[in-house]
Amino acid sequence: MGDNNIENQWFTISVYSENNVGLLNRISGIFLKRHINIESLNVSKSEINNVSKFTIVVHTTENWTRKIVGQIEKQIEVIRAFYHTDDETIYQESALFKIASDLLFDERQIQNIIKDNNSQIVTVARDFFVLAKTGRRFEIDEMYEQLAPYGIMQFVRSGRISVSKDEMQISALLQEFQHH
C-alpha cells in the first residue's frame, strides 16, 4: 500500500444507481458504520434515463475511500461507483446569500463584491436581496468573508456537483449487465 493510502485527502465519490427510495439509507449506513463523515451529498438525475447519480464528498484516506466504494458498488441497485481526487474532476458548489436591501444602495463596496466575485443578483425585494454564487468552495468562502462584515441575513451552500475528466461508460456497463 502506497503512502497516499494513509493520508487524508478530498475525494468525490460518484454513484450511478437505480432510482430507489431505500438506497440513500443503505449508502449512508456504509459511511456511518465506519465513522466517516459525509462532507457533502447531492442526488440528481444523470445523463441516462431513470439512472440517478449520487455525488458524495469525503475527507479521508484513499484506502478507506476504495473500501467504501467497494461496499457501495456491492449494493444491488448500484450500477457503478467511482472515486476521484479533486484534480481528476471538474466540480462546483452553489451558494445563496440573503442581505438586507438598504446595503445594496448604501454600501458601494457591496456592489464591488458582487462584481468581483462574478455573482448574480437573483432577486431584489423591499427588505432584502439575494445573491447567487457558483464556484469552488474556497471562492464561495472568500465571498462569504467579504460580505460577513456587512451582515448576512441567511446563507446556504449546496452539495458539490462534479463531472470526471475521464469517461464513466455507464451506458456500456448497463448494456453488458443486461446481456448477462
Binding site: S17, E18, G22, R26, K67, E73, K74, I76, E77, L174
Partner: protein
Amino acid sequence: METLKEMKTETRKGKTLKISGAEAIIHCLLAEGVDLLYGYPGGAIMPVYDELYKFQDKLTHILTRHEQGATHAAQGYARVSGRVGVAMATSGPGATNLVTGLADAQIDSTPMVCITGQVPRHLLGSDAFQETDIIGISTPVTKWNYQITKASEIPEIIAKAFYIAKSGRPGPVLIDITKNAQFEELMFSYKKCTGVRSYNAVPKPDKKALEAAATLINSAQKPFIVWGQGVILGKAEEELKAFVEKAGIPAAWTIMGASALDTEHPLNVGMVGMHGNYGPNILTNECDVLIAIGMRFDDRVTGRLDDYATQAKVIHFEIDPAEISKNVHADVAVLGDSKETLALLLPLINVNKHESWHNRFKEKYKIEFDTVIKNDIHPTKEGLTMGEVIEEINIASQQKAVIVTDVGQHQMIGCRYAKFRESKSNITSGGLGTMGFALPAAIGAKQGAMDREVVAIIGDGGYQMTIQELGVIFQHNIPVKIVVLNNDHLGMVRQWQELFFEKRYASTVMVNPDFVKIAEGYHIEAKRVSERKDLKSAVQEMIASDKPYFLEVKVEKEDNVFPMIPSGAAVSEIRLK
C-alpha cells in the same frame, strides 16, 4: 376446490389469472420450488396465513415458537440443502424478532428470504398498531430489502428476492408487504428472475489473473491453502480436492469452510483461527504463498493484521470484489465463482508434493496432540471433557452426521474434533456468533436433509436462549439429536475472565434447571450422563434412536479451550496453554 385446482394448473402454464395478493405470494413460493417455510402469524400477515391453510398440501408451514427460531431454522435448512430458506412473520415485534437471524445470514452469506406483513399502506408513517420501519431496521443486515405496497408488484419482487438471495455471494432478503397489498387482487403471472441490470452476481474470471496465480503457485516452495465457505457455496468441493492433490499443498479451513474436504484427507491440516490448530496458524507466518479460497480474512482468522502472513504473496480467489484487499492485501486476485476459477486453474498447475513442507505440519500436529488433543479426547482426569463427547459422536455416527453447533467453548471443541466425510456437514454461526442458533438451526438442517443424522451440540447457556423450539421438535416429531454440554457456566466468557480478567467471574456462573425434565415435559426421550463409564452407551443409544433425543452431559465446569490466539496477538503467537 374445483376452481382452486383449475387455477393452479393455469398458473403452472404461466397464464394470467386474477387472484389476491396473499394467494399470489403462495404461488410465487411454489414457483420457486419452496415446499417448506418457518414462521409465526399475526395481524398484518393473516391473509397470507389464510392462504397457507388452503395450500397446506403443497406447502408446509412450521410454526416455530419464536420468530428468531424461524430464521435460524431457515438458515439450517439452507446451509445443508443449498436451497433458499424461507421465514415469515407479522409486522412490528414479529418483524423485529427476525433481525438477529438476518444479521447472522448476512455475515455468513446464507440464502434466505424473509417475508413480513406490514400495516396497510394508508397507515404507513402514522405509528399504527404494530407498525415498525422494518425496511429501515433491516437495511444494514440484508443483501436487499423492499416494501411492497401494491398487489401488482408481488410476482416481480418475489422473483427478484429469490434471485438475489441465492445468486453470487448469497445472503438474506427481506420483503415487507402491506396488508392492503395482500387483500388486493392482481392479474397473476410468474416469471423467474434471471438477472438484475444493476447487479453483477458473478464476476467473470480473468485469464491473466489465473495465469499469475498459477505462476506463483508453481514456483512456491512453501505454499499454503486456506479455504472458506466460498468452496461450499460454490459447490467446488471436487475442484478444491483436485487442486490440493495435484499441487500437493497443505490445506486448512476456516470454521465456515469445515467439511468441504474430508477431515482425514492427508492434505487437510486442520482449522485456522483463534481456536484452530497449532500448525496451520503458526505456519501461516512461514508460508511463501498463501492461497485464500472463498474466505474473507475475518479477524478471528487473522489475529493481529499487521503480523499476518506478511512474508507471503497472497492469492485471493473470491466472488465478492469488495473482499479483495479489504483486510489482507491480495497480490493476485482471482474473481469469480470458486467452481469455475478452480477448474480453470487446475490445468495450469504443476504436479508437486512439497514433502518437507508438509512434514512441518506433521511436527506441529504432534506437539498439539501431545499437549492438547490427547487430554481433550482421551482424558485421564475424572471429569468428562467436551472433546471426548465429540469423539464418541464421531464413532457412533461413523463421521456421517451433520453437526450443528451453538456458540461458545462447545462450538470450538465441536468444530475442532468433529470429523466429516461429506460437505455441508458443519452448521454453525461463524461470523455473528449467535447463541441460540443451534437448536432451531438443527430443526432446519434435519428437514433439509431428512436422510442424514443431525446432531446439535449446545452449551447450557445458548440452549436456554431458544429452548422453546423443543415444542417444534415434539409437535412435528423431528428426529434431531440434542446434546447439551453442561458446564454450568457461560464457559467461553468464563475462560476469558480466567485468562484476562483475573478470574472475576462476573455473571458467568449459572444455576441451571433440570434439563432432562424439561425435555421430558415436551415428551422427548432424555438422558443425563455425568460419568465416563456411561458416556459411550448413552451416545450410541442416542444415535441409534430414530426419534428426537435429548442427552445432557455434565462436563468439567472450568475447562479451557486451547490452542488460543489471544485477541490482539499474531497467529504465530498462538498459545498451547
